[in-house]
Structure formats: C-alpha cells, structure tokens
C-alpha cells in the first residue's frame, strides 16, 4: 500500500513575539492508503494541532506535509481548500454543521460546492448516505431539531459525500455517550470499509482508538511511540482495548 499522508520534520508554534510556545516538535508521520490510525496523548500534547496541520487547515512553521503525492505545506489557501473539498473529509467533536441549513443540505453542501454533478444526483447520493447512517427520516429537519448522535451521523455523511481519500476526525465521539459513540464508530468503519479510504482520528477514548489498526502516542509535541493493533473485527474489541490500555498506562497517558 502506498503512503497517502506523509509529514517530515514538522514544527509548529503559537503565540507572538517573545512568548512562543512550540506545539509540534520535529514530527514525522506516515499514513498508508486504506489505513485507520488514531492519535492519542494527554491534553496539550499537540494531537489536534498535528491533525489540522497535516490536513492543511493550519500552516506549519517548518517541515513538509505531503498528501496523495503532492506537497501541501505552503500551498495557497484556494489550493488547499480545493484539496480538502475533493480528497478529505472532516468529523469534529462539536460537529460544526451549518445552522441555517437542513440536515440534507448540510450533507449536500460539499458536493454542490465541488460541482460537476447534477443536483438530483447529489441529492440521491446524500439520501443514500443518510439511509446508511439511519437518519434518512431526518433529512428535512433543521439541525436544532435532532440529537447530538444524529447530528454526528449527519457529520459523517457530510465527510463522505465527496468520496474523500482520507477522513480526519477530531474527537468524533467526544460529545456523545458511550452507546452513541460506539454506534458512530461502527458506522464510520463499516462505510469506510466499502470505500477503502484512510482514516486519521484524534481521541482520548480507548474504546474508539481500539478500533484503529495503529495508535500513535504523542507527548509534549512529539511522537513518543506507536503500537500496531492490526485489522479490526468486532470479536477482538475487548482484547484490543486491554492491550491498548496497558500500553498507554506504561506511558502514563
């Protein structure tokens, strides 16, 4: 499998003038095509910053970020937006749906913005995704009229509508209860399996991370170590969770 995402010596700091805080220090990371990787680590370790830097949502101070064979660090905003639009999907803890659009319109928005497809076809595909995630009946609802779990399902549909090569998730189950969180992860994994895309998520939740093939642990802005759990299947979840917990415990995470 080829690498879909590669970072090399990425550094990132925040603040201005004399008070600058290094958030990422010489981070190098690779995600392969079709791989599901999770980043874990304590609060403030730089997990989310790394996710936004590698997805082109934030700039890096130095180092290289390559996505799908092309370097994206330093590219213009319009170019990065175009890449995000066609090849990347995002799922956030706070979901970030647009409040004045219905659930269906939120899902259709990226596809319509991308263009090249009729409105009817986009609607058809969007309805298909809503059906797969079990919220087809809510398509015409206002986003204020549905629950958090249902909103996150809509968020997944929106992330998948343009058939992205990679999905980035920042604590996608962070705002949900355990049952809803598990359901969301199952849906994400099952749909992604059909498509064969890559997933990179940031999470605190061992149950979520245990579904990933590889877990990267970050400490103080650096990749401390990583663990390979292998391909996921439902029957091995408990065993993967225990293994991961032990590994994290050893690192005081």
């Amino acid at each position: 499998m080829r690498d879909i995402l590669q970072t090399l010596g990425v550094n990132k700091s925040y603040g201005d003038g004399k008070v600058r805080q290094m958030v990422l220090k010489d981070v190098s990371l690779t995600v392969r095509e079709g791989e599901f990787a999770a980043i874990m680590g304590p609060s403030g370790s730089g997990k989310s910053t790394l996710l936004y830097c590698v997805s082109g949502m934030d700039s890096v101070d130095s180092g290289r970020v390559t996505f799908d064979g092309q370097e994206i660090s330093g590219k213009a905003d319009t170019c990065l937006a175009a890449i995000r639009l066609s090849d990347m999907g995002f799922i956030f803890q706070n979901i970030f749906l647009i409040k004045n659009l219905t659930v269906l319109d939120n899902v259709m928005l990226p596809a319509l913005q991308k263009g090249g497809e009729s409105k009817e076809s986009v609607k058809f595909r969007a309805m298909g995704l809503l059906r797969k995630t079990g919220i087809e009946d809510l398509a015409k609802r206002d986003i204020n009229e549905v629950s958090g779990g249902q909103l996150q399902r809509a968020g997944i549909c929106r992330a998948l509508i343009n058939n992205p090569k990679m999905i980035f998730g920042d604590e996608p189950t962070g705002a949900l209860n355990t049952i809803a969180g598990n359901e969301i992860m199952d849906i994400l994994i099952s749909i992604n399996k059909e498509r064969g895309g890559s997933i990179l998520i940031v999470t605190h939740d061992v149950k979520v991370a245990a579904r990933a093939e590889r877990i990267i642990c970050m400490l103080d802005g650096k990749i401390e170590s990583e663990i390979l759990l292998g391909k996921y299947d439902d029957s091995s979840l408990n065993q993967r969770e225990s293994r991961l917990s032990e590994w994290l415990h050893a690192r005081s995470v």
Binding site: S48, T49, Y52, M57, D58, D77, T78, L80, A81, A82, I83, R84, L85, S86, M88, F90, F92, N94, F96, L97, I98, K99, N100, L101, T102, L104, D105, M108, L109, P110, L112, Q113, K114, G115, K119, E120, V122, K123, K140, D142, I143, N144, E145, R158, N162, D170
Partner: protein
C-alpha cells in the same frame, strides 16, 4: 466587582463602543453646532436690526414723490408711528458702475444698485463693527454682498460713469444693510458722502424709500392697510420687518437646517448600530445573564450594569461633541459673521447647544433602556439549559440547496439574507439613510443649478431678459428696445411684460396692494402647479399669493386699477421665489396706470450665440439690465447655491465615512457570530475567497437595495422635505432635477467599490478566526 465587570465589557466591545462613540460624538457635534449657528444667526440679525434701527415697514416708490403728502399721513397716524422718513436713493444702471482691476463695467450685474447718504433717524447702514458707517468725500461704503461675490477689498476703486460725467470713489468701508443684506433681495445700497451724492444726482434715476418705525411693531399690517387704503404713493414693492428677518435668515439658516437634518439622520444611524451592538452583547452574555439571575441579582441591577457602560460612553461622546461644536459652528456661521456680525450671544448659544446635547443624551439613554428590555425575557432556566436561543423557529427549510440558482457563494450569501432578514434589516436601514444623506442635498443643488430652476422663479425659459425700471425716459427706452428687438433677425420670440400695482381685498376684506405682471404669458410659458396661463379676464397667482388670498383655480378676484375695477378668474397657480414669492400674471393691463417696471424676454433662433447677443444688447442699451435667465438666477441665488453645494459635499463625505464604519462594524460582528459556520465551511473545502465572496454578496446585495430604496426615498421624501423648506420661499412643489451620471452611476459605483473594498478588508483581517481549532 461592578467596575471589574465594566472594565471587562469595555475591553471586549472596544471596537463597537468606539464606533458608537464616534457616531454619538458626530451627532452631538453637528446638532450642537447647528443649534449654535441658528442662535447666532437670529441674535445676529436682531442685534443688527437693533443697531441699524431697521424700519418696520418700507414702501418703495419710483417717480416723483410729494413728501408733504407722506408727512401729513405720518402726522395723522402719530398714534401708531414712532417716526418716518422718505429717502431719495439714486439708482445707477449696472453698466455705469465700474470696479475691478482694470476697472470693468458691471453689465452682467442684475442687482438694482442705488447710492445713498447715511440716514439721520433710523435705517442706518452699518460698518463691519455694526456701528453707523461714515464716509468722507470720495469714499464709498460697499455692501458686504459685493465683498463676498466680487471680492472687493478696502482701498479698491469704484467708478460711476455716464456720458461725460465720471466719479471715482475709494472703498473705505463695507456695509451691512439690515434691509438689503440678503442675496435674495435684488436691491443693494452703496453709502456715499453728501457732496458726492449731489454730484451724482444728475446722472442717476431717483427712487424713494419711504420707511416707518412703529410704536407697536405688531401693528405693521394695520399701518400697511391704512397706507394702501388712503392711496399713498406706492409705485414699488412694500416690505415689512418680518420679511427682512426671514430673507436674511433664509440665506444663512437654510444650511444650518440642512446640517440639522443630516445630524438627525446620523442620530438614527447611531441608535440602529447601538441596538445591533447591544443585542449582540446580550446574546453573547446569555449564560452569564442567566447565572446573574440565578444567584438572585435583580433585573434592575443587571440593567444598570449594561446601561452604565453605554451611559458613560454616551455622556463622554455628547460632552466631546459639545466641547468641539464651537469649531464647527464657526465654520457654519462664517456667513453669519460677515453679514450680521455674529450674535455676540456666547451664553445663549452655549445654553441652546447644551440643551440640544442633553436632549440627545436623554433620548440615547431612553433608547438603551428600551433595548435592554430584552434582558427581562431571559430566565435562568432558559439561559443555563441552552433552551433560550438558537431554538427559534428556523427558516432552514427556506430556499433549499437543491433549488440553487447561480454561483454557490452568491446563493449561500443571498439565502442568508432571506433567512436572517431581521439582522440585515439594520444594515439595510443604515444604507438607505446613508444614501438619502448623500443624495438629497446634492439633488437639491443640481435642481437649483439646473436651467429649469427658473420655473420656480416665476419666469419662462427665454434666452435673454431685459429689465427696464420705471424712470423719466422709460417710454423712449422701451420703444427703442422693442423696435431694436423686432428688427433683429436673430430674435425668434419676443415677450413684453409690464408690472403694475393694483389693489384688491384680502380674506379679511381689507384693501391691499398686489403687483401684477401683464403681457402674453404663452410666449415663454411657465409650468403651472395647477391650471394654465391667463387669458383675457383671467389671472394667474403665485403660490404665496394664492395662500394669502385663499384663492384657487376657478375662484374670482377683484382688482382695482386706477379708477377701474374688474373681476378676474384665477386661471392657474405657479411657483415663484422672487419678490418675496408674491407675484401675479395677467394677459393685458387693466388700465392705463403707470407700470413699476418692464421686462422684455427674447428667444433667439437656433445657432445664435446668447453670449454675443447679450454683449450686443448690453452695449446698445446701457441704462437697462440685460441678462440671461441663468445669470439672473446665479446672481440671486449664487451664495445660496454655494452653501447648498458645501452642504451636499459635507453630506456625501459624512455619509461615506458613516457607511464605511458601519460596514466594518457590521461585517466584523457578523463574522465573529458566524465563527462556527465559517469554520465548518473552511473544513468542508470552502476557501477564504469563497467565504469573502459570500459576505460580499450579502453586504453588496443590501447595499444595492439600500441604494435603490435610498434613491427612491430621496426622490420622494427628500423632494417633499425640500418642497416644505422651499414652500417658505414660495416654491411649494420642487421636482428634483438630478444629474443622472452622478446620482445613478457615479455615486452607486463609488459606494459599491468603496463598501466592497471595506468589506473585503474586514474579511481578510478576520482570516485567522476562520479555523475550527482556535
């Protein structure tokens, strides 16, 4: 604690508070300044009138005067009259008056220029210190009007030449004339020494100014009626004290009035912005307010917390406006100082400015309190459970993306306008008001500047206008001019009009005088507000006369000429701001009475140069005034036009600044409150440019609507407002004559580019807030 919270609020809302502060400051500044100008204007006029002992009533009379007849009249009515005088003025045609370097004949001057000596009892001509002016032999006192319009300075030479006689004077003083100061009055008086006066008598036409001072100034109309009733000399217009005050006030006061209107609109804009900012702040503090209520803080205390910051800011802005207002008032009242010598009424000006500012502040606080009623609706449960907001009936189903038309960014921007129309309504109202401020004073200027404006001056559209005053050899001059014009191949149309004074009865049945211009009124037709030009047995009245006599089209009016009486039907009503607005027109003279003056209007054939023809007639007929209606207008209204132009430029400048600041504030607040949505769009692949375009689409659509509504409002409400003001001068229905290139192209284009640039700059500056991870 309260101080800490206030401090926090100030820091958080710094930008918005600064904007609102600026607007309140600007409003207070302009309101206080225009108040000060009005006070200074009226106290200036009254102080000048006091020093000059302005007559309460004057009657002009051309031709011979039997002084003893007037003396007998004055003695007979000694119970009403304090004093009287009959002064002989020496009228000199403009073509015989020379000034400038080199000396140049003032042929284009359409004023009636007369030369007088200083009066003994009253009606004094004052110098620029408001003291009774004195001139030695060889010296001349020149009206301040010419200091301003012709740039005459002390020491300049004024020469009077007629045939072989010539007399040179040195300008030694500028004259404030409490009667004829205003540019609206077409007569101007020069002050000369007694010995020079005698020398000039041989080359000038005499005209008498019969003036009365009354024991009770309110008895003006009574003495005026008695004067007319007893058939006293009245070959000329009569003007009373109130008309002097009004004409003096109009030329300078109109500008203060326009500024006052602009500042009122500014107040409206400031309050709209404030409302927007306050609601945004309440939304932001929603949970905090809930907590305050939950821990038992009463509504009044929470309101005080909010109102104190606005009160502090409003008080500071009003105070700053009041402090700086004398500077603006100084600029606005430049003309007041020159023409009336300023009011010297610092205390009164300050009190009026203070009262106006306090009124503004009170209004501002009341407005804040009414907006803060929204606090009442917040309950702790609603606020803390998050059920209070964002749960309003959503319009998300409106305009679904599947029915998208056009570009996605434009559609999303347009859609947002439809969904959050209340939010954008504020911006729209501000744009409408801004465009209104930009256009209305400018439209007024282009209307006055337009060649069609003469319609409001009671004259038809001719090419050349010749004014022949009644004098000893009027008949000869009139015949000569008519013969010359009739044989002139370049003249296509010729209209000969004579103005006579008649008597009629007013609504109270009292006999009063009326000047009527007679002649064929169809040669250069007027636009009539109602009705048509008079035929035989008919009369057309100016708006002011129609109001005074309460006569409309179809009504009858009875005229008494010299011995004859005739009943005429009112055929039409027209607008006229000349001669105090009180004029009338007939088809032919009623009797063989002596006309007060003659007017001949010429229409030239196509291709004939008006300029050359004016020069030809001026050199041919030195004793009469030869003008084009345009120059007639500019000499009568020039100073006023300049002032309106300044007000228009000020209006445009202010409006552009206000609109830019509001756009910055609005766009910034919108972007901050839309932070989550913007971040979501960025994440799904919208570029910063896309988002910028969405905001541009929203704000520019509102601007386009604002321009359309503002232009319509200016052309309807603004026109009505101007008509209301002009109605005081005799033009009750002014139709704007716009300059389409400026009004419909340049200004909208400028606004689009200006506001678009401002909005784009705000979007670009806010780029850093467009990410989900901050």
């Amino acid at each position: 604690m309260v101080f800490t919270m206030l401090n926090k609020y100030f820091k958080r809302e710094k930008g918005v508070l600064i904007c609102v502060f600026l607007f309140i400051f600007l409003s207070a500044l302009l309101i206080a300044a225009s108040g000060e100008t009005v006070v200074s204007l009226f106290s200036g006029i009254s102080k000048m009138a006091e020093e000059a002992k302005t007559p309460h009533l004057i009657q002009m009379h051309s031709g011979e005067l039997n002084k003893s007849e007037v003396t007998v009249f004055a003695e007979k009515h000694a119970d009403l009259l304090e004093s009287f005088q009959a002064v002989k003025m020496l009228n000199v045609p403009s073509s015989n008056i020379y000034w400038g370097d080199p000396l140049e004949a003032q042929t284009g001057n359409s004023m009636d220029n007369s030369f007088v000596t200083q009066n003994e009892k009253f009606d004094f001509l004052l110098d620029l210190n408001n003291e009774v002016a004195k001139v030695a032999a060889g010296e001349i006192g020149v009206p301040v009007y010419y200091k301003e319009t012709s740039g005459l300075t002390l020491g300049d030479t004024v020469e009077i030449k007629s045939g072989n006689t010539s007399k040179k004077f040195m300008v030694s003083v500028f004259i404030r004339d409490s009667q004829m100061n205003s540019s609206f009055i077409t007569s101007k008086r020069f002050l000369i020494n007694e010995s020079d006066y005698i020398a000039l008598e041989s080359i000038a036409e005499p005209e008498y100014l019969i003036g009365f001072r009354l024991k009770d100034p309110d008895a003006v109309s009574r003495i005026s009626d008695i004067y007319a009733d007893e058939g006293m000399p009245s070959m000329g217009p009569s003007v009373d004290y109130n008309s002097f005050v009004m004409l003096n006030a109009l030329s300078e006061g109109m500008i203060a009035l326009i500024i006052l209107l602009i500042s009122m609109l500014l107040v409206a804009i400031s309050l709209l912005c404030l409302r927007f900012a306050m609601i945004a702040a309440i939304q932001e503090d929603y949970e905090e307010i809930g907590v305050m209520k939950a821990i038992g803080m009463p509504y009044k205390n929470i309101r005080r917390l909010y109102i104190s910051k606005y009160a502090i800011m409003g008080a500071a802005a009003c105070l700053a406006g009041l402090v700086f207002s004398p500077v603006v008032a100084g600029i606005l009242s430049g003309g007041v100082d020159l023409y009336f010598g300023g009011g010297g009424s610092g205390v009164l000006s300050f009190i009026v400015a203070l009262l106006l500012t306090m009124l503004l502040f009170g209004f501002f606080i009341l407005f804040c309190m009414s907006v803060l009623r929204a606090l009442k609706k917040i309950t702790p449960v609603k606020a803390l459970t998050g059920n209070g907001r964002d749960k309003k009936k959503s319009r998300a189903r409106l305009l679904p993306l599947s029915s998208r038309f056009g570009n996605m960014n434009f559609y999303l921007g347009f859609r947002d306008l439809a969904i959050r129309r209340k939010t954008y309504a504020t911006l729209l109202i501000v744009f409408v008001l801004g465009v209104f401020i930009m256009l209305t004073p400018y439209n007024l200027y282009t209307t006055i500047d337009s060649p069609n404006f003469i319609t409001y001056m009671g004259i038809g559209k001719s090419d050349i206008r010749l004014d022949i005053p009644n004098a000893q050899n009027t008949d000869e001059i009139l015949t000569a001019v008519l013969d010359y014009a009739k044989s002139d191949d370049d003249v296509e149309k010729l209209q000969s009009l004579s103005t006579c004074r008649y008597k009629t009865t007013d609504v109270d049945g009292i006999v009063t005088g009326i000047n009527i211009e007679s002649g064929d009124q169809n040669i250069f037709p007027l636009s009539y507000l109602s009705g048509k030009a008079p035929e035989k047995g008919e009369i057309a009245l100016s708006v002011s006369n129609s109001d005074e006599f309460k006569k409309n089209v179809g009504d009858h009016i009875s005229l008494i000429g010299e011995g004859a009486e005739e009943n005429l039907t009112v055929s039409g009503i027209y607008q006229d701001i000349t001669n105090g607005g009180k004029t009338a027109k007939m088809e032919s003279v009623l009797t063989e009475g002596t006309p007060l003056w003659f007017t001949i209007n010429l229409g030239l054939k196509d291709g004939v140069s008006i300029k050359d023809k004016l020069a030809e007639y001026r050199s041919e007929f030195l004793a009469i005034k030869v003008n084009s209606p345009d120059s007639y207008k500019s000499q009568n209204l020039g100073a006023f036009m300049e002032a309106v132009f300044s007000a228009a430029i000020l209006g445009m400048f202010l409006a552009a600044i206000v609109l830019a600041v509001i756009t910055v504030m609005f766009a910034y607040m919108l972007i901050v409150s839309d932070g989550r949505e913007i971040a979501a769009m960025r994440a799904v692949g919208f570029s910063l440019k896309d988002i910028e375009r969405q905001y541009l689409a929203r704000i520019l659509t509102m601007l386009a609507l604002g321009i359309i509504i503002g232009t319509i409002a200016s052309n309807t409400l603004g026109e009505g407002l101007v008509s209301g003001l002009a109605g005081m001068m005799g033009a009750s229905k002014v139709s704007f004559e716009t300059n389409p290139i400026i009004t419909y192209l340049t200004i909208p284009l400028f606004l689009f580019i200006f506001i678009g640039t401002v909005c784009a700059a705000v979007c670009r500056r806010s780029d850093s807030s467009f990410t989900v991870n901050h």
